[in-house]
Subunit: 202 residues, 2 copies
DNA sequence: AAAAATCTTGACTGGTTGGTCAAGTCTGTT
DNA sequence: AACAGACTTGACCAACCAGTCAAGATTTTT
C-alpha cells in the first residue's frame, strides 16, 4: 500500500531526477544534486528508491510508452496525408509539453543507448518497420509522393525533437523568444510539400 | 618548442577525449577513461594538459571554427537555391565525417551550453542573423519560396545532425546498415521542394 | 493516549575521481 | 660517452560519490 506521503515524495524525486538526468546524463548526475533539487536528504531519497539506477530505470519506463504512442496512433485506414501530418503535430506537441523527457531520451541515445538498446531494437523497430511499410504502400498507391518511409519518419523525429533538445541554442540565437514560435506552420508547410503527390499523368 | 613526442601524444589524448566526452558528456567522462582510451597513464595525461577542463576547452575551440564555416561559406552573390542546397550538403558531409564532434556539440547544448554560451550568443548568433537576413531578401525577391529563414536554418541543423547524434538509434532500427544510406537524396528532395518558389503570377 | 508503522536524517563507509609529486627512464645533443 | 632536457609513472591525497545504518521524529491506527 502506498501512502499519501509516499506518493508526494516519489513524484518530487522523479521530477527532480528528470531535471538532473536530462541535463547531465546518467553518469554526470549525482544523488546529491537530485536530492537538493527535490528538497529532500540523500538518505531519504534512498528510502524511496533502491539506488540511482532504479530512479533512472523508472524514468525510462515511463518514457517508453509515451514515446511509442504518437506513431502507434497513426491509423492505417486514415487519409495518408492527414495521418502523417497528425503524427508530426503530435510529436511537436510532445516536444512542447515534455522537453525534459526528450532530452533524457537524447542523452540515452548519445551514450549509445546502453539502457534502451533492447527496447529500440525490438519494440520501436517493429513499430517503425510496420509504419514504414504502411507509408510505402500509400506511396505505391499514389496517395503520397514517392518518398523513403524510414527517412520520412527520421525527419519527423529530427525536426520535432530538435526544438526540445537544442532549446538552449535556439534561445541564445533568438534572444529569449520561445523556440517553438512559428515552428508549427513552418513544419506543416515543409511536410505538406514533401509528401504531396504530384498530379497524376492522365 | 613542441617535440615529435608531444605532437603525437597531444593528438592521441585529444582523440581519446573526443571519444569519451562525446559519449559521456563533460561530467560523465573520467580522466581514467580518457587515459585508457589514449593508451597513456593518467599522470602522463596531466603532463600534457593542466586539467580535465583544459582538454575539453581545447576540443571545444577546435570545434568552433569548423562549426561556423559551412554557414559562413554561403555566398550572398550566388544563386539562392544552390547556396542553400550547398549549405545543407556541407552540413550533411560534416555529420558523416565528424560524427563525434557533432555529438560533443549536442552534449554541450543538452547541458544548457554552460561552456559555449558566449560563443553561441555572440559569434553564431551574428552569423545566423546575417544569413537569415540574406535568405529573407532572397524570398522577398521571389528567388526562393517565402519561408521563415530561422526555421529553415534550424531545420538544416536538425536534419543533418540527427544522423550523427542519433546514429545509435538509427542503426538499431535499420539493423546495421549505414544510417546515412539514402539520406542525401531524401534531403535534397525535401529542401528542393521546400524552397522552390511557386511560379509567379504573370 | 499509546502502540505501531512510517518517515527522516546525521554520521559514517568503501570506492572513485581529479590532481600532485618525487623519482626514474628515455631522447637528443655535444 | 655523458649531460640536459623531455618524458613517464607508482604512490599518494583530498574531495566527492553511491549507498548504509541506527536512532529519532512524525503520522496513522488502535
Amino acid at each position: 500500500m502506498t501512502t499519501r506521503i509516499q506518493k508526494r515524495n516519489r513524484k518530487r524525486i522523479l521530477d527532480a531526477a528528470l531535471e538532473v538526468f536530462s541535463a547531465q546524463g546518467f553518469r554526470g548526475a549525482t544523488l546529491d544534486q537530485i536530492a537538493a533539487e527535490a528538497g529532500l536528504s540523500k538518505p531519504n531519497l534512498l528510502y524511496y528508491f533502491d539506488n540511482k539506477e532504479a530512479i533512472h530505470r523508472l524514468l525510462m519506463e515511463d518514457l517508453l510508452a509515451s514515446w511509442l504512442e504518437p506513431l502507434r496512433a497513426m491509423n492505417p485506414q486514415g487519409e495518408p496525408r492527414d495521418e502523417i501530418m497528425g503524427y508530426m503535430r503530435r510529436k511537436l506537441q510532445m516536444s512542447r509539453a515534455f522537453p525534459r523527457e526528450s532530452r533524457l531520451f537524447a542523452n540515452e541515445i548519445l551514450q549509445g543507448a546502453p539502457r534502451l538498446g533492447d527496447f529500440i531494437a525490438r519494440d520501436l523497430r517493429m513499430l517503425v518497420d510496420d509504419r514504414a511499410a504502411l507509408i510505402a504502400r500509400w506511396s505505391r498507391e499514389g496517395r503520397l509522393a514517392p518518398v523513403d518511409p524510414y527517412h520520412l519518419i527520421f525527419s519527423i523525429w529530427a525536426l520535432t525533437q530538435h526544438y526540445a533538445d537544442f532549446d538552449a541554442q535556439i534561445r541564445l540565437i533568438r534572444d529569449g523568444t520561445d523556440p517553438l514560435d512559428g515552428a508549427e506552420p513552418f513544419l506543416e508547410r515543409l511536410f505538406e510539400r514533401l509528401i504531396a503527390p504530384e498530379p497524376r499523368a492522365p
